[in-house]
Symmetry: C3
């Protein structure tokens, strides 16, 4: 529970820390740590902007529990090999608002891909609408909705956003 006694400033600091840790984990490709940022019951969705704005829920990728995210990681780390590449995430300014269902946030997200011997390029331009809750003093994602500007995730984006 977020108590009303907790100052706004302290809460905002904790939310920022959550995102810093989340994006560093993904940038560093510590994939096995990724599901731990989510509640056991959660919603992770990557959805094209056009669908999102029309109120559709048809998504490019969806997981409804931490277990499904763990399965996704297993799939990523045990299957095929890809050309060596790095992803780096550049989140924009974070808007934070607190409500009865937890903390709502909105921020833009740019993901840049670098193949070792090629020029860096943008693989994702998106806006994230997340809901965060406090469980026993730690913050977790209850919902993470990544609304992508393109129709589909590029094939080259293998790893989570």
């Amino acid at each position: 529970m977020i108590t009303t006694a907790e100052t706004d400033t302290a809460l905002r600091g904790r939310v920022r820390d959550l995102y810093d840790a989340y994006y560093d984990t993904l940038d560093d490709v510590r994939l096995s740590d990724w599901p731990g940022f989510f509640l056991p019951d959660c919603l992770y969705r990557v959805i094209p902007r056009e669908n999102f704005e029309r109120g559709y829920t048809l998504s490019t990728m969806q997981a409804e529990s931490r277990g499904m995210l763990q399965d996704r990681v297993t799939g990523l780390t045990t299957t095929q090999m890809y050309a060596p590449r790095y992803y780096r995430r550049f989140p924009g300014p974070l808007r934070i608002s607190a409500g009865p269902e937890g903390i709502r946030t909105r921020h833009n997200l740019l993901i840049v891909q670098t193949l070792i011997d090629r020029q860096s390029e943008i693989v994702l331009s998106a806006v994230c609408h997340d809901r965060i809750v406090d469980e026993d003093g730690r913050l977790y994602f209850a919902e993470r909705i990544v609304v992508i500007d393109s129709e589909m995730i590029p094939n080259s984006l293998i790893y989570p956003a």
Copy 2:
């Protein structure tokens, strides 16, 4: 008026909120809300870096009142159709300084364009030098100078920065 009693931290928070709302409005293509961020008497200018650094005022685009910005929006929303595309704005860290003429800010701005079935690409790399004033408890742009690194705005950048 910004009173000296207002703490620095509170003022910085309000300025950040202004930019968050401004860029979200543009990212969401709520164009009719755009002129309302400016004073009735204002200066909105998009200018190539070379001209700006030489002290010239020859601009790629200029408006000198909220009414002119409204005309611009009318032009955008009533004329020709373009290939469907989305813009997303990624502002860099915000420098804020307060003076007798209001609040001066500086920040970099990256605008990314996504055509639905194509790879995202950068359409604008710029630095913004803005002046913000407080009117009846709300912040407005008195001046917004967008200094672009290229010679001209790409044809493909249809919407405001």
Copy 3:
């Protein structure tokens, strides 16, 4: 010395100001001011991610003193001419932690290049691991390690990161 009496908030503000000033200096191509951000004895290193993660120190560029950085600037400003271009730096969120050896920071860095008559493009995607110390009330870089996602700095990146 960073005294324990200095509040976290104030220190974080000073570190942010350092980075704002550092990146503005480079964006504005005030190269002669660049070495002054470093201690006389310092480490400036640009290193490919693969080498960095394996614990190698083989670097693309390295300087071990402010004097070497000054030499680098002299080299840049007195030698050949390049096609006119601008660089703009987009640092990501800044993680700050204080320890006995000074302040450690981590943040992502995107550098965008614009040739005057061409589309802007990414020339660098990197993560920076820096160490900052306080000397007589001013903050300086003791170490700046720029870990780049590509194998080498593009030839086109002439100026410092």
